[in-house]
């Protein structure tokens, strides 16, 4: 069965979701992953969007985080203040998806700036809600292509907290969530070890440790329980291609 990198990442992200999870969804691949999970093993997934939409059942592929198709037919809508406080800060969100220009060895994310903050070489969009999602969702997952420039040993700017310099440092910070539980790339999955360092936990079919190392900016440790992921199934690919993104916008 043929599949591309976006499909591979989406399917693997979907599998990390549990039935009944309350997920803070972004647009793009996280949205596809959540909808895929809902149609397969997690029918009771509750999707929350940072624009304040709860229990969305979008009838088309949302093109932005505030697409009106998210509201029509949702179970609830609330204000931005409420979604970040009553839902996220209060601890009512199980899973958050994150992305960013850079992810480092301890899962910290930079989505703000390359170079000096005050005289930026490249000005990126900034946090949006990701600082709070990374801090307060019970579990976070990151979906990103595996490229060396995206995986520096240390990010220039910590927009969203991973484990900072060590799991203990995150715990001392008072952030309520457990931090990044997985980085899903097109080569495999990194997961935090007992120190909060992101180590290679799974390889996708056809990938190997060398490929991971060549595309990562630090000496990647390999889990003693390194596993191989199951390739996307025909059914997973059918749902993605036929139902969720039939015009191929994201996959």
């Amino acid at each position: 069965m043929n599949y591309n990198n976006a499909e591979l990442m989406t399917v693997n992200a979907a599998r990390l979701l549990r039935d009944g999870d309350v997920v803070f969804v972004g647009v793009g691949l996280p949205n596809l992953a959540c909808n895929l999970a809902r149609r397969t093993h997690a029918p009771n997934l509750v999707m929350i969007y940072e624009a304040g939409v709860i229990g969305a059942r979008p009838s088309r592929l949302p093109l932005s985080i505030g697409d009106p198709c998210l509201v029509s037919g949702a179970t609830a809508v609330c204000s931005m203040y409420d979604i970040f406080s009553f839902y996220l800060q209060r601890g009512n969100v199980d899973v958050g998806f994150l992305g960013g220009a850079q992810i480092d060895r301890f899962g910290n994310i930079n989505a703000t700036v390359i170079g000096d903050y005050n005289q930026p070489k490249t000005r990126l969009p900034g946090s949006g809600g990701s600082m709070e999602i990374a801090g307060w969702a019970n579990r976070c997952y990151i979906i990103t292509p595996h490229q060396k420039r995206r995986f520096p040993e240390k990010v220039d700017f910590i927009t969203s907290a991973g484990f900072l310099s060590h799991r203990k440092e995150r715990e001392a910070s008072g952030a309520r969530g457990k931090g990044p539980q997985g980085v899903v790339t097109h080569l495999g999955i990194l997961e935090p070890d007992e120190n909060g360092e992101m180590v290679l936990a799974a390889l996708h079919p056809g990938a190997n440790i060398d490929m991971i190392q060549q595309n990562t900016g630090w000496e990647v440790k390999v889990s003693v329980n390194l596993r191989e992921t199951q390739p996307p199934s025909a059914e997973e690919l059918r749902i993605l291609r036929e139902d969720l993104d039939p015009t191929g916008i994201y996959i």
């Binding site: 029509s72 931005m80 970040f84 996220l88 000005r123 927009t159």
Partner: protein, 300 residues
């Protein structure tokens, strides 16, 4: 008391050079018509605050109205970069002040509720706190835990687009209700643009739907399709091709100028702009109805 104004009058009366403005609406009901009128009236040195500057502030920046931006996510939503503002920051031509979404909305919440600060729990992320002196810490006297605090944001003017309001300014909004209420209550003046000005009876038939009360509103302007190229829930869809086109336009100074000349300076008001968009666009953005199930307040 009727507060009806034309949009041109309202902008003339309530938006001044050097003001802090907040054009509200999280990806939804973004008041583009008001921004275009601000451009036509050549307002200068504005500080423009919004969680997501979106195309609306990219346009204001392109037209030379902006001195400073206060924001939490600077992107062309679903498309990519907000090129004009990004460029102005990278070239050191524009001041900026930055928060996370919750920091930004907490500033509005403090401003709207009359508090000198709002607390937020710690997120663990250190860098923005170091970069922005408006993000401070205090100690909870009950537990000894440190919390983050931000000061109130009290703009000079909030501009809010709504689905329907009465001539006094009692405004009802549905769909995404991002920060419209907070922006309105936080600001010294409030300009409402509305898809429809309805009889007071319609508003009074559903008081729980009212988000902004007349008592804080200064001007009410009937401006259908004010939110294009963003959308108004139940009235029209987002013009996604335009969001994509802006990514192209905003890469060239010449194209930007041509676009402003044709679509802002070249039209008198939103009615003319909407007519100019043409029937094909009108039809493309139309939505079929999907009505709420009514509720009963009881005739007490």
């Amino acid at each position: 008391m009727s507060k009806l104004h034309t949009l041109s009058e309202a902008i003339k009366k309530y938006v001044h050079d050097g003001d802090v403005i907040y054009a509200a609406g999280f990806t939804h009901m973004i008041p583009f018509a008001a921004a275009h009128e601000i451009i036509r009236q050549k307002k200068k040195n504005l500080t423009v605050a919004r969680a997501t500057p979106d195309l609306i502030y990219d346009m204001l920046t392109a037209a030379g109205c902006v001195k400073k931006v206060i924001f939490s996510y600077m992107g062309n939503p679903g498309v990519g970069s907000l090129r004009i503002m990004r460029d102005a920051i990278e070239k050191g031509e524009m001041e900026w002040e930055e928060y996370s979404h919750f920091g930004m909305i907490s500033r509005l919440q403090a401003g709207a509720t009359g508090l000198p600060f709002m607390p937020m729990n710690q997120t663990g992320a250190p860098s923005l706190e170091k970069a922005n002196p408006n993000i401070k810490r205090i100690t909870d006297p009950f537990t000894g835990v440190e919390v983050i605090v931000v000061p109130p944001l009290n703009p000079d003017v909030a501009i809010v687009h709504v689905q329907r309001c009465d001539k006094h300014g009692n405004s009802q909004i549905w769909g995404i209700v991002g920060e419209q209420k907070e922006a309105a209550f936080a600001s010294k003046h409030v300009i409402i643009t509305a898809e429809e000005i309805v009889e007071e009876d319609i508003i009074r038939s559903d008081p729980n739907r009212t988000v902004i009360p007349s008592i804080i509103v200064d001007a009410v302007c009937q401006v259908p399709f004010s939110a294009h190229p963003s959308y108004t829930q139940g009235y029209y869809d987002r013009d996604n091709p335009f969001y994509l086109a802006w990514d192209e336009i905003s890469q060239s100074t010449e194209k930007i100028q041509n676009w402003l000349d044709e679509w802002v300076y070249g039209v008198k008001d939103r009615d003319e702009y909407w007519e100019k968009l043409g029937e094909e666009t009108h039809n493309r953005l139309k939505v079929s109805p999907r009505l709420s199930s009514p509720i009963d307040y009881g005739d007490y």
